[in-house]
Symmetry: D3
């Protein structure tokens, strides 16, 4: 497959998951300097890995919440809370992942993640 | 609820997930010194967090694979690959989580996790 | 022991360590969504682990400063600087832990922790 | 060598790398409490390790960008982007290191580092 | 560019850097299960990121030593010590990166990395 | 103070803490390549930071157990369990630190640390 097609497929999926405005704002903020990184994100992550069969988008979101909360990458976690809501995760399901993070990665990461999740929920009251 | 009941409920679930022999061997290896830690694991993790409704055991396993691979805790990851197979995860589903880990946590953690997963699969050929 | 008693015992200790106002503000900020996490924090961490004999509160604080600075969990570190002052740690003792962090975890974590510690000291001039 | 000489040599190099004003502001912000940490930074890091032969300052900067971006220490990364520009790194070279970070440590750390790097570039347009 | 060409280009470079035998052994050990991960490694990492202009292979190696030692990924670090020798790094240059790791990430990671580096040097006495 | 005196003072303290044989074996294993790292360890860590007043050796050990267990640096943790026993820590006190690690850094790190601690205790039955 041509990497340009991979890029287009990934960008389309990414916008469906997180919203066109959010994605364009994030891409714009890194400008031309960030173009090779956008290639990685759009083509390789969303065009390839996220576009694979084998897990539903909701299952991927549950794993992503665990991955990003466990590594305390809060900006990325915030984006994936939005994606999880889009993919049909309920707030209660998101919380269950964070309780696993509390016990397997320690409570400080879980507290940080709770705070971010609540900010997303409150900014998007229809998200549930 | 009494913490002794929490402990018994958790220990029972833990044995269902990972096998009686594995759990008893792990508990025995830490001896009396490890008793307070076993209280945390059996009562608080498996008796409380894992016993909650809100996610299926399979969904919890998918999140756990992401959490333990992301933090490169390979001994714990190994246990949760076994648990994931018990909870109905297919090898292909486990792999999809590890590909997310590759892109969001870097390939070294994903390579380590692939190796451990294959060791579990090969030791337990009926696990798929 | 009943987990509700564990919870009450932990909440009481937690307020003694960090101040009633601080604890209530933190609990309130996570709301009902955060109730299961508060169960972990109040009952299991402060009601069980911190309530054990075996170390004095001051010794626990010294260990906690090392643990939270080493993992660069700055929000949690801030809380435990306050707790350390309550438990009788002098500013000089807190600094010694951070110098160990500098050499065993690298100077960037130690610089971050110095900054937070000074913010706590300056907000609470009688804390020494 | 006397540690005071090591300190003076390191402080001089540090100011050349990051600018006198930046270094003095950072030292001042930690005050007397931070004096032993400044000893580590000035004497041991810049007076000893950075003053060694074996690598050019530009090569050290490339390694430092990788080290600080990989560990997501963004305050320290920011300082070393400035140092890298001083040591003759081009923006394009800095980006290449961050693309390695993306693949070996995951994209969230790379995104954070891109953002900080752009802030430094934009604050210092003659830096390229 | 077609992703199959990216894959071939990357695999070729990877073998030049680390040796054909090492690469084939590593690819074989993950088998068919590891095929999608090999796609990421061969096509995206070595076919794209490592094949970019902007840094020499030696400069990339210096950054990689810092990145993998800083994150304590010792298996990956071992591979990149071999790659660094291939790319013309001297043992003394490798050591300088590890001394930076000692001060910015703590001595335990630097001790681990020294041990691995010496194992590679001793297995390959002509590597210097 | 001359850095050679710092080195000698640190080496002497280090041997008192961990045993002459252990220290010489560790220094020997890194050979001449490791000499600059030994300078950091002996002169800067043990000759300076550990030789400061402000905390007793036992208090330093309690902090070190937390720091090294929290970052899952198991080789270094093992050494500091030995040092903690030398400095008068009881096995029960060491365990209390590890229970804090369980809750603030997650149980996988605490399980690893329990295992190493028991190995040290069993190799040195008079250490309690």
């Amino acid at each position: 497959m041509d990497t340009r097609d991979l890029y287009e497929r990934g960008l389309k999926l990414r916008k469906e998951l997180f919203g066109t405005e959010t994605v364009e704002k994030r891409m714009h903020s890194l400008g031309e300097f960030g173009a090779p990184l956008q290639q990685i994100i759009n083509a390789y992550i969303y065009g390839d890995v996220w576009s694979r069969s084998g897990l539903t988008l909701k299952q991927r979101s549950l794993a992503m919440l665990g991955i990003t909360a466990a590594t305390n990458h809060l900006n990325e976690f915030r984006v994936h809370v939005q994606g999880a809501l889009t993919n049909g995760c309920k707030q209660e399901e998101i919380r269950e992942v964070l309780l696993l993070v509390a016990m397997y990665c320690g409570v400080p990461s879980a507290i940080d993640a709770h705070r971010i999740a609540l900010e997303v929920f409150n900014a998007k009251p229809a998200g549930r």
